[in-house]
Subunit: 365 residues, 3 copies
């Protein structure tokens, strides 16, 4: 991790990756949807069979975004002079003329709809592999409920990744709901890295349940609590959050007694180097019999994400003001540092550069 | 046309030209009016005899805009320390001192009020020729009505010129009022250029009238329709829009049967390279006996200009995001391309450069 | 005064100086207060004994402003991961680890609370001398009242200093309250400079009282009026404003008959080179028996400062548009020019440069 990178300067992104472009229900039949991903304008629309298409969102004639145009069957028509593009990005109609120049085409992006997410591959299409999409099965699983958000955030995407790989912050940012001081003081943290991700588990054992846990897990005793962040580079997460009665075997690998868990799915999509589209869903299989309680659990969850967003935007404003200010790392930064290293390596690999295996800037305190 | 120019980058303007600074009724006696034209601050005010004056809108003492001051007879007084400037831009009073330094003067601009427009010459005053102002006689003609707009638009001015020289866009941008698909598919287009302008006619013959035409032209049959754009470089237009019963001789040069026409006057005044003040007036001699119908015609006209403005601002946002993206030209771009070439030549001539007569970038598809 | 400096370009500030950071009542016990001074983020908070503390407002870990955290006794805790800093800027707690790296500290600033102002020294702490704080005794003096403002203004701070050292502007900017034309036309102006300030007196003798003076001074005759600006570089002012019956000895150094006076205290704190926090208080010892009249005097005072702010922001917009436009000086600019010279000298001295004693750019007309 270079300091420049940590500070969000420089618009470098991993391009050969699947990014969340929209929740499925944001892409309505017959209505184009424009978004900016990795500083590229992208338009999404559904073919008549419902399959999503992702094209460059810029008519090659006079640069009007195609997302201001109209879906006509399987093609999209520019709203200015009526040029039409098919799903392969080829211009197939220019009103008033018969010939269509070969240059009249827009870029097309591989796109897959899976787990209620429209995933777009922003890099070399020949390398797009559907198997690399992180799986969010709880979005559609029988008996599971979800509450979700699509937020446009004024921050560099890496600030969000940092956040999700150091969940000690719950003790301070979310002290009135899911946080308790033991998450910061007494956690057993274990981090592993792989070629394409970072995995961090945090256990706090025999601790009083935080407010949300006590309320919805209905504990009248101490708990063993887990937070397991599974980061798939560059921009997706599954985080398991749960607890069981203290000392009943959860930490040792069992179910434990009175287990209570929710799973959060995250898609973090850079828009520019200072703005990000954030897709977030809390999923759970409890509460089917308690709509009022579930509504309150969802409200608390949205309070939590709102508190995080306030942190991200304040950090970014400070980074804008003091882009070169030095930072220090702490013990819990192992996960965030591994993630930044991994992203740096992936970006360098796309540019044919090598990155040293170790870097003093990464050395935690 | 260079791509850089097409994309709105670079703040080069034709300076030796008359630009619309305000509608006459925007300049009220006794009240200074500040505006920015070609990135220059300009203040307008009326002398006691009503004649408009245009000066640099910046007190040479401490840079307060004079437009925040007061008109006192024929002079304008700075609202900060009371320096007064006469109509020739000379400082004629500095409170508290007798001597006035020779440098205490602001630039003055040639100004002419004509056809309800305050026209300001932004270049070399010795070249200002009132005869070069485009005539908008319908603004004041007996029996004619007008509806008008002064809009501040977040776009480069050339995007507006492009729009007005390719009226095929009505088929898509204004499909619910003045547009119909034949305007794009079946138009007979003829373009001529002169030393100071571009003239484009579009005829669509024997076509169903568009909604607005059917409603106010009261046609129960097909029509022959004309759209004639008369562009006077760098920034004024008169566009005639009308129709007559199909096959009754209008295309051949006659009046035709049941002719119906309105004439639109346009002043397009660059503020910066990304913002423009747009003066637009629809004029017509029908409807004097039908105030309710006229109000609806005016409403539809304002809907149309609002739709255009949405296109301009979306184009500009895309050009900001992708300033170097390549563009292609289509058959209908003859008029817009001639206009951009002409503006390029005029700018180059002011800078003593030559521009090649042909430029591959202009070659339409 | 270089033109660049006059135009507000270049972010150079005098650092070895006390700046107003907040009014005392803006800094509430237990609540951190963030501000930006001289482009540095600063957080203020009160210790348990009420004494104010000023630290760098940026956690060294992940750059969250500490002002979004919590005051815990005498320390401040980051709202993200709970790092705590003591009043000396040392990190004294990192949750989850025992060792604290030596680099984990934030800058601390000398701070003094005096005359209802929190003063912060932005330069070399070893040079901070409480005796250099300009005294505003009327903020707390028995029998005196105050009305005050803290405004965030979109202008370079020097525009405000210019304003306060040439009070001829009252004739034009504040013509409906404290201004009258004689302030500009017939003033006796005397300017003196010292090593750390500029002092300007303006007397207008035997003149009709301006509206505010007539109303609250209850004059039925002409007055001798004084305006005495005492500028302590770089950013504080005390301005005495008053009058007495004409010809009753005030100008000669006596009290005069029916004297009426108010004293305005100013703290002008650069935030960036284009934004300023302005602390302004009008103080007076009249009107204790007339709350309704005093409320109206305060209303007129706030009208006056609002008119000034409109001037500052309009000047700055013009300087942004035309940063290199030449300016001229007038006779009354002696005070403002001395102040700009003094600030330039102080800045240069901090950078080890010398500034010529005279500079053609300063020569007034």
């Amino acid at each position: 991790m270079s300091t420049a990178n940590l500070n969000g300067a420089g618009a470098q992104f991993v391009r050969n990756a699947w990014y969340a472009a929209a929740w499925s229900d944001e892409l309505v039949a017959g209505q184009p949807l424009g978004c900016t991903m990795l500083q590229e304008p992208v338009v999404l629309y559904r073919r008549t069979d419902g399959v999503p298409v992702a094209l460059e969102d810029r008519c090659v004639h006079r640069s009007l975004p195609l997302s201001l145009g109209r879906v006509r069957g399987d093609v999209i028509e520019c709203g200015y002079h009526g040029l039409q593009y098919d799903c392969a990005g080829a211009c197939v109609r220019i009103p008033g003329q018969q010939t269509i120049p070969a240059a009249a085409r827009v870029r097309t992006y591989p796109v897959i709809e899976q787990d209620c997410v429209i995933w777009v591959w922003m890099g070399n299409a020949s390398k797009a592999d559907a198997a690399k999409i992180m799986s969010f099965p709880w979005m559609t699983k029988l008996g599971w409920q979800q509450t979700k958000l699509h937020a446009h955030i004024e921050c560099n995407y890496q600030l969000i990744i940092d956040n999700l790989l150091d969940l000690s912050h719950l003790a301070f940012v979310h002290a009135t709901t899911v946080g308790s001081i033991e998450l910061a003081d007494d956690a057993l943290v274990h981090t592993e890295r792989s070629d394409d991700g970072v995995w961090t588990s945090r256990w706090t054992l025999n601790v009083p349940p935080a407010k949300t846990y006590a309320q919805f897990g209905r504990y009248d005793c101490n708990v063993d609590r887990w937070q397991v962040s599974d980061f798939r580079a560059p921009c997706t997460f599954v985080i398991r959050n749960g607890s069981a009665k203290a000392g009943t075997g959860a930490y040792e690998g069992g179910r434990g007694e009175q287990p209570w868990e929710f799973i959060v799915c995250h898609g973090i999509t850079p828009e520019t180097d200072r703005t990000t589209n954030y897709f977030w869903a809390v999923t759970h299989d409890f509460g089917a019999d308690d709509p009022v309680g579930t509504a309150e659990f969802h409200r608390q969850s949205h309070q939590v994400i709102g508190e995080d967003i306030a942190v991200f935007t304040a950090q970014q404003r400070m980074l804008n003001l003091k882009p070169d200010a030095p930072l220090i790392n702490i013990r819990y930064d192992g996960g965030p540092i591994q993630a930044r290293r991994l992203i740096d390596r992936l970006i360098a690999a796309e540019h044919g550069e090598s990155v040293p295996a170790t870097d003093d800037a990464y050395v935690a305190a």
